[in-house]
Amino acid sequence: MEYFLTEPQKTIKNLARRIAEERILPVRAELDEKEQFPWDIMKDLAKSDMFRVFVPEQYEGLGGGCLDLCLVVEELSRVCSGVAVSYAASGLGSFSLLEYGSAEQKRKYLPAIASGARLAAFALTEPTAGSDASAIRTTAEKTPGGYVLNGTKQFITNGGEAEIYTVIALTDKTKGARGASAFLVEKDTPGFSFGKKEKKMGIRASSTRELVFRNCTIPTENIIGREGLGFIMTMRILDRSRPGIAAQAVGIAQGALEAAVDYARQRVQFGHPIIAQPVVQNMLADMAIQVEAARALTYAAARMIDGGAKNFTEESAMSKVFASDMAMKVTTDAVQVFGGAGYMRDYPVEKMMRDAKITQIYEGTNEVLRSAIAAELRKRRGRQD
């Protein structure tokens, strides 16, 4: 479908595709097998200015918006979403700064994120706080020498590899969610270490790790925004980043669709390529329809955000839920088109199916997001009464 992207957007999309095909495709199976963080590819992405896409021009970025970031994530995910999420997580890790950071914080950190010299990460989840983000226990105690962090973050994408972390911690335990604040913590700060590296079902090239804070003192000026705003900032940041997960899902599904069409064209059974079978044609057509519908919704949500809309919780959640459910369905069908071969690790579709699953889970499970969408519906109807 023609989405009338701008010339710069087309350039971004084409170059991201070229990097994916020339640099990621040859190594994606190996990265998946070895659960190896793709540093070489991160450097290629950096050299090609991909980390500049989401950073404003005044901080050495290219000033792109949500849609520009989505285009990169989609193209990388089409080949390997393990690589794509490592890239996207640096974007998520910098959103706190972009949206709420002081001019000084932006000047200090954004140019290095834009050049790709330093990766960023966002740390919210804890063993006791998944969908219920208000249940976090990590504390940040204000002392004369700065804030002292204590606690453990879990399942942190880019954990151990990133150098700049946005960490959500409680500055006032008595206030619950209203007592949360956001902090910038640099790797190698004393008292900040990394725990277990997770072994995952999919997106195995990416790093997912525990962050451990034991009396970790950070300067007072490392707070982002004000005390007590951590939770509301987090909700806003995730609203902004969710179309990126949708784009990841669209990319994975696009890759699976293309692989399925190629395979169906060359796999001969009963004397003909299986693409001649109406039952296979129906499957492929349904896959294509779903991918395009998800892409349209994703781009629409991203454009709404870029257009300056104030509240986009609902639309952003819709794009993420729809695209991730779609990706799970389409990748499962792609394995089905491949038959027994699809179940084997020699072919790429089983990886795509494993990779797709996480998109239904992270940055808000589809269940919690459906609740949020329903809450908006109810609120809107309530206002009309």
């Binding site: 350039t11 170059l15 050299k47 090609s48 200015d49």
Partner: protein, 261 residues
């Protein structure tokens, strides 16, 4: 450290057809690419710029469509580019090509190093680099696989030879040709692509260069392609009869006969 990199646009396939009239390649309908080895030359030039500062100039002699390749060179990191484009340059052999490039490089004046790919995918001669050095009157090192250091007007390089490598020190300015072992070429960058879109790429003609028309193009060539043909594949085989021992004996005597052993 100012670096000039010579690039050539070549057909992006080995399946080319030959025009029986002119004995040249039929280029219509074939996607052109940067000669693969020249991409290593460009990458090395950009890396030297990153290490030592300075500017990278990409230069090519070719038809107007070679401008597209020079834009790509800018998107990858060249600071500027020059196209040598004139119908008088057409059908040049390596000598006339090197002469034309040499005149243009002299016109660029400020340069410390000229880098070329080892050879092109189409012509495959590997002659332009050394001829260029000769015409510029500069030291030349072929098959460079690593640039170790540049200091005090001297450059230390490793060059690939058949059974290992040689370390060579040369004064600058100099001309080198590089092999693919030297680096891994990078892809374009978004800022580079934006720069490339708006870059002015001058096209210098024979007149701009002030060259002797008898020294360029077909007129300036010392060699002409008389005929291009695909070699006929002839298979000759002889089946040696007899027992295994008899076969070995007759094989050995035949090899001796042919003075192969």
């Amino acid at each position: 450290m100012n670096i000039t990199v010579c690039l050539k646009q070549v057909p992006g396939t080995t399946q080319v057809k030959i025009d029986p009239q002119t004995n040249t390649l039929i280029r219509q309908g074939i996607k052109n690419i940067v000669n693969p080895l020249d991409t290593y030359a460009l990458e090395e030039g950009i890396r030297l710029k990153e290490r030592y500062g300075g500017q990278v100039t990409a230069i090519s002699m070719g038809p107007p469509q070679a401008e597209e390749m020079l834009r790509e060179a800018i998107s990858i990191g060249a600071d500027q580019a020059v196209l040598l484009c004139d119908s008088a340059f057409a059908s040049a052999d390596t000598l006339a090509t090197a002469y034309t490039l040499a005149q243009a490089i002299k016109k660029l004046k400020d340069f410390d190093l000229v880098i070329c790919g080892r050879q092109t995918l189409d012509g495959d001669t590997g002659q332009v680099g050394p001829e260029l050095a000769e015409m510029l009157g500069l030291p030349f090192v072929a098959y460079v696989s690593q640039i170790e250091e540049i200091k005090d007007g001297l450059m230390r390089v490793q060059r690939l030879v058949e059974d290992g490598h040689e370390v060579i020190e040369t004064t600058l300015p100099a001309v080198i040709t590089v092999v693919k072992e030297i680096n891994v070429p990078r892809l374009p960058s978004l800022r580079g692509l934006a720069r490339a879109r708006s870059a002015q790429i001058p096209a210098w003609t024979a007149q701009d260069l002030g060259v002797d028309p008898n020294m360029v193009g077909r007129a300036g060539s010392a060699t002409w392609v008389v005929k291009i043909f695909f070699p006929q594949r002839v298979r000759r085989a002889e089946i040696l009869p007899g027992s295994a021992e008899a076969q070995v004996d007759s094989l050995i005597s035949k090899l001796k006969e042919g003075r192969l052993i």
